[in-house]
């Protein structure tokens, strides 16, 4: 586009501002609901035959009474604190396991030439094409029926960690490839074993990539909803996503709890996302072109 001729045209700002308002309206709506201190899905109670202004008040995302009651109640009266803790445990363990598995495999793929290397990497790539629903039933049978790990955090953790492996391995391998091999060779001449080289030299050098991988694993587990709802039967073992749906799914409508819980769950993810989005975009588009 020929840029620059009319700088900052008023109509463009007006259009953008109204579109942005529409875009962030749902976010404001959830915030208003969260701070409203009540459970109904409407922000204010409307009279029987509301006037235009009363209806307008009904859609303005500002609660009738500002209160933190929903936040306090959802953490104390409802088992949401427990669910949040479950999610933290599951996501934390997933991150540890996922990063360990991905780092070792990526290192081998990056540094060693061995029979089956290319096939292995291709297999990792192809596995990304397997549809989720096809995997869901066998995973349910394997984890719940055979291994008896239904309703158990370990079942979720190992599934999350393995499903995150291919992406993490490809990403880490790319980073390991950029670390000069001379460093390792000089260490080997000094008599360092492969384990020492890997843990003492490579891992510290790859810290930024490992951090991204860890965050990716964490967010995979933190936002996952379907497997968790299939595996976790008892209410005490729900993760936060399953719990949030529990508030407003089916016939229950505790929208206040849902809104407060959503804010708590989303906040860390949104902050991380804003911080990391430039890596995500470059990774996604780079991966799909080549």
């Amino acid at each position: 586009m020929a840029l620059g001729r009319p700088k900052n045209p008023l109509w463009l700002h007006a259009a953008l501002i109204s579109f942005t308002l529409l875009t962030i309206y749902p976010v404001l709506w959830v915030l208003a609901l969260a701070f409203s201190g009540q459970q109904s899905v409407g922000l204010v109670d409307l009279p029987k035959d509301p006037s235009f202004l009363e209806r307008l008040r009904g859609i303005v995302p500002w609660p009738a009474h500002l209160s933190a009651k929903n936040f306090i109640d959802v953490m104390t009266e409802q088992p949401f604190g427990r669910w949040l803790l479950n999610s933290v445990i599951v996501s934390g363990l997933t991150t540890l396991l996922g990063v360990f598995l991905a780092c070792t495999a990526a290192y081998a793929f990056s540094r060693f030439r061995f029979p089956g290397r290319d096939q292995g990497m291709l297999a990792f790539l192809v596995s990304q094409m397997f549809p989720g629903t096809l995997m869901l039933i066998p995973l349910f049978i394997i984890i719940v029926k055979w291994l008896g790990l239904g309703n158990n955090f370990i079942g979720l953790v190992i599934v999350y960690a393995t499903t995150a492996i291919p992406f993490c391995v490809w990403m880490l391998k790319g980073y390991f490839d950029t670390i000069p091999i001379d460093i390792e060779e000089s260490a080997r001449i000094d008599g360092a074993s492969p384990q020492v080289i890997f843990f003492r030299i490579i891992l510290p050098l790859a810290k930024p990539a490992i951090a991204i991988t860890a965050l990716f694993s964490f967010m995979t587990a933190w936002n996952e909803f379907i497997l968790a709802s299939v595996f976790m039967e008892s209410e005490a073992n729900y993760t936060a996503p399953v719990g949030l749906r529990f508030f407003v799914g089916g016939f229950s409508s505790q929208w206040g709890f849902f809104a407060a819980g959503s804010v708590i769950v989303s906040l860390p993810v949104v902050i991380l996302f804003m911080y990391l989005q430039k890596y995500l975009v470059s990774g996604l588009t780079a991966g799909s072109v080549k």
Partner: protein, 638 residues
């Protein structure tokens, strides 16, 4: 250990061991099934015979006859007669028959009604569509309970429930492990004398090893098949013996003599689950010429499997004698550090990604549901039936007297909805993303960063939360969207009741969360276009539209095409939005393929059907992926 590499000993031993072990294990399983079927046949025969002897007797006579059966047939543990709401007779003293059924015996009453309904349907239709007898427990248990209707002149009077102990005469062939062990040992010994020359591709010793393997396999498998045939004969003989004994008891019980039947019809007591005579023995227990079909199907299954096992053994033998095994072992040894590093992730992927994938595809060829998942795989195998049912069902639109009805459960309807869903969503995402990116790319535009951060928000929020939030906003009674509509004088819309309005809820939600991705991608691409190109175009006197067509669009293509490709796959698989916003309402009309597969699996518990459904989805994605790579390549060369 070097001689191991130079002889066929290890290969022949391992291949033989695997072949014999698998064959024996499979034959053992089939023999167990045969024995279980025999026990079930015996139990059904006795129950039918007891039931037949009660026809036309009064209550006292019925009780007497039941007692007679109990006394004369050692296999019969107990027998009861339930007529309507009454337990008329029973051989169990604690039952205190005759009396009315108790409240907790409601299942017995229901069972009687079910069997009556089934038998009457069969009589009414002149077919055998419904099962008229119920078997509880299997032939593997120590006893099983069989309930059959008491038929009097084509009418069902009540049911007879017989509990029958497994007779000791079941035929269970030994697995023949002694022969197997001897064969494997022989293979190891003879193999040691077969020298393999590594430099040749194939030579006489290798040929001898192959022949030896095949001979060993055939000897063992023939022995298993012979044992099977013997077991079938034994089991037929046991049933015939029981039939003779039952006929004798029947004659002594005081029941009227059996009506003369054509000799080839067989005993009316030895029936399958639909009450049809099997025609294997006549009333007096003499075997008839007809072949035992159930046993024959087992035998043919076993034969087919033996071929497959033989092929597996052959592959294994070649793996060893051709030196591949030695090479693999050497590679493992040479690269042990690398393999040690890869192993944890590889094992995890094999167990939790690749195995489930192939297991899911295998499941698609069975009729597994929640209720029969414990049956052995070969009993659930039904071939391509699921795929025919999914893809061969063209009953999309039905025209009835009341008008035209669309069958929302049909695969092609769901496929159509999915395609429309994908196309509209990607169009919405790309359009809004494009417009916003162009606006934000205006040079010297103030507040760019603020807009960008705010507009990217929908992408940052977990999408299940987004979905639930929009579900709340679309609430038909209190949702803000209907409030806003009413504010301007419109009628509120019952969003989830109409096919189109319900589709719109998904489209709006998904459009809202997908445009930021497009915006960010396009904005990045726009910013990488060098400014001098536009300046040069300005100098040449090109209009803005011309500049857009000849500079912006072509330079955007390499970024835009992959972004569209990836968002097509995302949208196609967007489970959360459909599942959580509209739930596919109304009546499953707005289900997309992935949510439909989920519901088939976890709400209807049709695991196999859902697996077949998912396999079809996978094939669709594969085809799409194939064309997508071709298109992407074309873009790159552009």
């Amino acid at each position: 250990m070097d001689w191991l590499k130079r002889t066929a000993s290890l290969g022949l031993g391992v291949a033989l061991a695997v072949v014999l072990l698998l064959s024996g294990w499979l034959a053992g399983g089939v023999a167990g099934d045969l024995a279980a079927e025999q026990r079930q046949r015996e139990a059904v025969l006795l129950a039918n015979a007891v039931s037949a002897s009660l026809v036309g007797a009064d209550e006292a006579a019925k009780a007497q006859r039941l007692a007679k059966w109990k006394a004369e047939q050692p296999g019969l543990e107990s027998a009861r007669l339930v007529v309507g709401r009454e337990m008329q007779a029973s051989t169990i003293a604690a039952d205190e028959a005759p009396r009315a059924l108790k409240r907790e015996e409601k299942p017995l009453f229901d069972l009687a009604n079910d069997l009556r309904a089934a038998a009457e349907t069969n009589v009414g239709e002149g077919t055998t569509r419904k099962r008229t007898l119920r078997v509880e427990g299997s032939g593997r248990d120590s006893a099983m309970t069989v309930s059959v209707p008491l038929m009097v002149e084509g009418k069902v009077e009540g049911i007879v429930q017989a509990r029958v102990r497994a007779s000791g005469e079941s035929a269970s062939p030994g697995a023949g492990w002694a022969l197997a062990l001897a064969l494997v040992a022989a293979g190891l010994v003879v193999g040691a004398f077969l020298r393999i020359k590594a430099e040749r591709h194939f030579d006489v010793p290798r040929g001898i090893a192959v022949v030896l393997l095949l001979v060993g396999a055939v000897v063992f498998q023939q022995q298993q098949l012979r044992r099977m045939a013997e077991a079938t004969a034994t089991s037929d003989a046991a049933v015939a013996k029981l039939q003779a004994a039952a006929a004798a008891t029947y004659a002594r019980s005081g029941a009227p003599a059996l009506a003369a039947l054509p000799a080839e019809a067989g005993s009316p007591w030895d029936t399958d689950g639909y009450g049809r005579p099997r025609g294997l023995v006549d009333v007096d227990g003499r075997p008839l010429a007809k072949a035992n079909l159930a046993a024959a199907s087992h035998a043919s299954f076993l034969k087919k499997s033996f071929w497959a096992i033989g092929a597996l053994g052959l592959a294994l033998l070649l793996f060893f004698v051709q030196g591949w095994a030695a090479r693999t072992a050497q590679a493992l040894k040479d690269h042990r550090v690398a393999y040690a590093y890869v192993a944890p992730a590889m094992i995890g992927m094999l167990v939790l990604v690749f195995f489930p994938f192939f297991y899911g595809i295998a499941l698609a060829f069975t009729d597994t549901t929640l209720f029969n998942e414990n049956l052995p795989f070969r009993e659930r195998f039904i071939g391509l039936t699921n795929f025919f049912n999914i893809l061969g069902d063209f009953d999309i639109v039905k025209t009835t007297a009341e008008g035209t009805v669309v069958n929302y459960q049909n695969f092609y309807w769901t496929l159509m909805v999915t395609v429309i869903w994908t196309v509209t969503n990607v169009t919405v995402g790309v359009t809004f993303g494009f417009l916003l990116a162009l606006a934000l790319n205006t040079e010297g535009f103030k507040g760019k960063t603020i807009y960008r951060v705010l507009l990217i928000l929908p992408w940052a929020i977990p999408n299940y939360i987004t979905a639930l939030v929009w579900r709340g906003m679309f609430h038909p009674q209190f949702g803000v969207i209907n409030q806003a509509l009413q504010m301007f004088g419109f009628e509120p819309v019952r969003w989830f009741d109409g096919v189109v309005s319900s589709f719109m809820t998904g489209l709006v939600t998904n459009g809202w969360l997908s445009f930021p991705f497009m915006m960010v991608v396009i904005l990045g691409a726009l910013q990488s276009i060098p400014r001098d190109m536009y300046e040069a175009a300005d100098v040449e006197g090109a209009t803005r539209w011309q500049q857009f067509r000849s500079i912006t669009l072509p330079l955007l293509r390499p970024t835009l095409v992959p972004a569209v490709v990836i968002s097509v796959v995302w949208t196609f698989n967007m489970f959360n939005i459909i599942f959580l916003v509209s739930g596919g309402e109304p009546g499953g009309a707005n289900e997309i393929l992935v949510t439909k597969a989920y519901k088939i699996a976890f709400e209807q518990y049709q695991y196999a059907y859902a697996a077949a459904y998912s396999t079809v989805i996978f094939v669709i994605l594969l085809v799409y992926g194939y064309f997508q790579t071709r298109v992407t390549r074309a873009t790159e060369s552009y």
